[in-house]
Point group: C2
């Protein structure tokens, strides 16, 4: 997605070979017009895939996911990293390791929100090593759903999440697959 | 907002006199069409208020806030409850007590995302005792911004957040102000 890549080049910053700062338009400050365009791009790529629900992982995936859900006219479900006291009935959980935070968290879903056989598209802001995506897949499949695709706004294609997901048979679409980063240099690859 | 109140009556559930479950359309499963309508309603109520930025609190406020931001054609900033390892430079923080979780968290903002004098509208899913809203206000004002309004999708008007915020001079708009709840009964009041 050319417009997104241009925005990453103009406003993003490679802090190291693996850390990409995009907090001025994607995950701290958010550009809603860009999020709508991201939603349009996901809706176009996954049209005809029989998607019935959008899922995302709390919390940076919510903005692009809700735009995708609006444009595809589908409900969205937020897989939770934090569970409130009133969220107790009928939940399923899976442990996910976060490399960014160097700790584990419990990803949680009230299983009634994924119906058996439902075809689910998982949208997230970043795809790196795939830990979060595989956690989402475990929960959705445990609830009886079918993961029909993974959409990442940005993929660190030099890490192995994308390869592992595709190797496991999942369709992955990354709008901006980053091939390599060095301080002040970001290179994309064709997906 | 009549459509929202009807949805709360049909799909929400009062678990007690103070706990309202709306996780089938607002904060776990999310109805993006309703979120767009919520955004339209906030945009209409705050048109002419000179709003320059939308702020919200991670994470259930993000969906209604990003729709409001899109419809008002403004950037959004997400005040963070969880800070990633790469979010270190130029941050300001304030402690917020959560009654739901019975614990404190540090609400965090990279202060560059609120410009001095900027007029900010804070959007959140719930307004109850006002702890989160006052935390957002402290951060925005510390960064030099001006809180021009608070928009809550649902307000528990029987708790004192709305009164305290208005008493402190802030404009509050609640799309569904709940007057009282008992098991299986939810009553709204005029705002």
């Amino acid at each position: 997605m050319e417009k997104l890549k241009q925005r990453i080049l103009s406003d993003g910053r490679a802090l190291s070979e693996s850390v990409l700062l995009v907090d001025s338009f994607l995950n701290h400050q958010v550009d809603p017009v860009l999020m709508k365009q991201v939603g349009e791009e996901f809706a176009a790529r996954f049209s005809g895939a029989g998607i019935e629900k959008i899922a995302t992982i709390e919390s940076s995936g919510i903005a692009p996911a809700v735009m995708t859900a609006l444009l595809m006219n589908l409900p969205m479900v937020i897989l939770k990293k934090q569970v409130s006291a009133i969220m107790k009935e009928g939940i399923i959980q899976t442990e996910v390791f976060s490399f960014t935070k160097n700790s584990c968290y419990l990803l949680t879903l009230k299983s009634q929100f994924i119906r058996p056989g439902e075809r689910v598209l998982v949208i997230d802001d970043f795809l790196a090593n795939g830990e979060a995506a595989f956690g989402a897949i475990r929960l959705i499949e445990q609830a009886g759903g079918q993961v029909a695709g993974i959409g990442a706004v940005i993929a660190k294609a030099f890490q192995d999440g994308m390869k592992k997901l595709r190797g496991a048979g999942y369709r992955v679409e990354a709008l901006a697959p980053v091939k390599s980063m060095r301080e002040n240099t970001i290179e994309f690859r064709e997906d």
